[in-house]
Amino acid sequence: MKIGAPKESARGEARVALTPESAQHIQKLGHECLIEAGAGEAAGFSDAAYRDAGVSVVDGADALWRDAEVVIKVREPSDDEVKQLHEGQTLITFFWPAQNEALLEACKAQGATVVAMDMVPRISRAQKMDALSSMANIAGYRAVIEAGNNFGRFFTGQVTAAGKVPPAKVLVVGAGVAGLAAIGTATSLGAVVRAFDVRPEVSEQIESMGAEFLFLEFDESQDGSESGGYAAPSSPEFREKQLECFREQAPDVDIVITTALIPGKPAPKLWLEDMVAAMKPGSVIIDLAAEKGGNCDLTKPDERVVSDNGVVVVGYTDFPSRMATQASLLYATNIRHMLTDLTPEKDGVINHNMDDDVIRGATVAHQGEITFPPPPPKVKAIGAAPPKKKEKEPTPEEKKAAEHAAFKAQTKRQAGLLAIGGALMLLLGQVAPVSFMQHFIVFVLACFIGFQVIWNVSHSLHTPLMAVTNAISGIIILGAILQIGTSSVIVGILAAISVLIATINIVGGFLVTRRMLAMFQKS
């Protein structure tokens, strides 16, 4: 089959759906590749490079649309392009079928099969063709770079001879692929990053990227894994809570990157005018949702606006296109994987298997029928992870109160023990002879010292401790020594045996301890 990539007709679109690298892989599937002359120019791929990779370079879009049996593109087709579609032709591209119903209708009328790259279901098997994620990844990275471009200070904190520079504080709203990519980029530039998402289960991912998760105290939290990893609209109460949290953050943060999107809906307004007003002059807002109306009140799609208080609001919608080379490489690979799935025999014949979950999900028009929306996939998107419950941090007052109570309880217990001990001593003193009490004082003090000293012994030395105490307890030999000089024979014999075994104990105990301790080595 002939796979052809035309030059993108949309204004400012620099990406291309076929790269020399992906062309080589596609040819291995038994296909032939075509490209419109100059299609890769803007992304840094010359016609010569394509030719070297075995791609036929075709002059003019008309010839390409006529010859190619499968057309691969980045943006949805323009009206002119739709007219060139013909029966049996397959179009693989970003299509946004929910927003472009008329366009879909027109394609169907032309008898073409349309595979929408944005409709690839989010299951593990299809990750290699998940072009939305690849583009979002780039957008997230580029958003930080764009923010840095518009931000007048360093990201990382520094202490220099010319003064101290505080680190930039970045707030990322929405921790999808773009949000996580932005977090990763910003943290590696040295910024202090905080992130928010309505799905509490992503907190782990956020923290793993090195950002702090802003946790909202709210019962009704979403389980995003139910909806294929995407966020759903939230209740008004939740929204209020959320805005309150942002309002708190606004004066503190330097850079805000908003990525909140809800599939098939306009972007939710999360960064309101008063929050922009509360920000410091020179702060930057990058609105990655600008194409869908923007998360920020001030966002104007494709424009960079400066608010009255000097906050820059960037609403570009073409972040992936601004990194056309990288974006094309990734997108072309996604397309290539889609073609691999469409060519299971690797014989250059497209087998449009509508029983395959991934192909079925992505196909929006086929054999003169509109096949959108697809039935839910058989495989569940992401294993539903139970949201992690965060333990409530006690407030300083509570902590103090708890500490105070613990201290009081301890004092009470100690005082009680002392009182009981004192009373017992008093009783004992009444009956015991003076000489006994003197020894008893020594005994009690020794117990105390023993307790104090032993608590400090490290766990790993417990065996040597036992051996040493063992050796020391051989001190019982003194008892035998004191008695051995007797004139009684029986006592003498008993004492002698005691001396013998106590000596074994002392010598054996100490030697074995020394042997053990000599073995402990540092690395």
Partner: protein
């Protein structure tokens, strides 16, 4: 002959040295010096007491000490590090027996002195301890008798208890808890009878009461420890350690010797603290450990689903080669299989390959407090990669491979997950949080405590059956 002043000064010096010796065990480097404090303290104490006033019988004393020292040296040289628990238990029994003998002697001396005083009513020349007894007032003698009773009782329990603990640890006595019919009632009966005998003795009954008392205490010690399972041995050994100290302290009272009292108290409290730490590490009540057997369960243990999946050395080796971080959790099984040297070789290879290798030691791993540390030290594993449970427990989640060698209950997730488990609430090493867990084990079956371990059935667990030493050795050539 040295004067009394010398003896007292020596006692003070020895006490201080003993305290320093125990305090020095707070870290490995200081510990090497600390032993010397103990040795010097003991030498000072023995020398000055032996050559103090009123001591005789050197023709007994010196040969006995030389023979004892020779035996001690021989034992210390010969013992394998894996046999440490047995040795410690055996040495405890000596202290117990000596305490019984000394207490008996003390009473014999007392009788002799009393008889002589009653006979001629005048002061007579006595030697050694008898001279001291002769100066005592009647109420002091009464207390002396109480102390003798205590010394005999504690000493006797320590003696037979240690002998049985030694037998169990050395494998000469079956490690399973065993009790005569009647169980704890028998112990209680014997204790009550002992009390009766003690009262009779205090009221002037003959020396036979003390012999009978010792016999009863011997029985209690034997029966008590027989009823305790092998897994609880760390507590038992430290408890006996404590008893031997208290026995020494009781004798110290009898003989009015402060050095004995101080040392006995130090040893006694040390053993008590160790027992406490061990019990806490098993989340068990001290009383229930001593009385033997696990506490009653509240319901049926949770059913375990899944199956134990075996793996061969190849699989383990390739997982180790892929891993960046490895934690090894050794248990008594490592000691039994003498696998510590093989483990050490494996660790050296893995570390040479730039992997992070650490050990996680549960406080009650092995049969003696700190048992695993000593074994690993013997195999030349640096002590700074050997970590305690609290230090390492949070790191399992970020670890690639955990190798469990011959431990069972201390890595049992049932302790945390199943409230009906007999070990519910016991702190355990959370090995199952790691990406992969390999369990080196002789075969299927439960450990000492007889509790099924759900860890073996977890999805990320693989059973690596075989003798621990052979298994680890077979890994060595395959690990780069």
């Amino acid at each position: 002959m040295l004067g009394q002043g010398f003896v007292s000064a020596a006692a003070i010096a020895a006490s201080v040295l003993f305290i320093l010796s125990l305090g020095g065990l707070s870290n490995q480097e200081k510990a090497k010096r600390a032993v010397w404090y103990g040795i010097v303290g003991m030498a000072v104490a023995v020398f000055f007491t032996a050559f103090g006033p009123g001591i005789g019988g050197y023709w007994w004393l010196i040969p006995m000490m030389i023979i004892g020292a020779a035996i001690g040296v021989y034992l210390a040289k010969k013992v394998e590090m894996t046999e440490m628990p047995q040795l410690v238990a055996a040495l405890h029994s000596f202290v117990g027996l000596a305490a019984v003998f000394v207490a008996w002697s003390a009473d014999l001396e007392r009788r002799r002195v009393m008889a002589a005083q009653a006979a001629d009513g005048a002061m007579q020349e006595f030697s050694a301890f008898a001279a001291l007894v002769a100066t005592k007032a009647p109420d002091e003698l009464m207390f002396l008798q109480i102390e003798v009773v205590l010394g005999i009782f504690i000493g006797a329990v320590t003696f037979t208890g240690s002998v049985i603990a030694f037998g169990k640890l050395a494998g000469k006595v079956d490690g399973k808890p065993k009790q005569l019919p009647g169980g704890h009632m028998l112990n209680a009966g014997a204790a009550a009878l002992s009390l009766l005998l003690a009262i009779m003795y205090l009221n002037g009954a003959g020396f036979w009461t003390l012999i009978l008392l010792a016999a009863l205490a011997f029985f209690i010690g034997y029966h008590l420890i027989m009823g305790i399972g092998g897994a609880d041995m760390p507590v038992v050994v430290s408890m006996l350690n404590s008893y031997s100290g208290w026995a020494a302290a009781a004798i110290g009272f009898t003989l009015s010797n402060d050095l004995l009292i101080v040392t006995g108290a130090l040893v006694g409290s040390s053993g008590a603290i160790l027992s406490y730490i061990m019990c806490k590490a098993m989340n068990r009540n001290f009383i229930s450990v001593i009385l033997g057997g696990f506490g009653g369960t509240q319901g049926p243990a949770a059913e375990i689903e899944g199956e134990q999946v075996a793996i061969d050395a190849n699989g383990v080796a390739s997982a180790l080669n892929d891993a960046d971080s490895v934690i090894i959790v050794p248990g008594y099984g490592m000691a039994v299989a003498q696998a510590q040297t093989a483990v050490s070789d494996l660790v050296r290879k893995l570390r040479a390959a730039g992997k992070e290798v650490r050990f996680g030691i549960h406080p009650v791993a092995g049969r003696l407090p700190g048992h695993m540390n000593v074994l690993l030290a013997e195999a030349k594993v640096p002590y700074d990669i050997v970590l305690e449970m609290d230090e390492i427990n949070d790191d399992f989640a970020t670890t690639d491979v955990v190798i469990v060698i011959g431990s069972n209950d201390i890595v049992n997730p049932a302790a945390e997950e199943d409230p009906n488990s007999p070990i519910a609430g016991m702190p355990v090493l959370k090995v199952w949080e790691a990406k992969q867990v390999f369990i080196c084990k002789r075969g299927q079956g439960t450990g000492y405590s007889g509790i099924e371990n759900p860890l073996f059935f977890k999805e990320n667990s693989r059973m690596f059956y075989g003798d621990a030493r052979d298994s680890i050795n077979s890994l060595l050539p395959m690990v780069e």
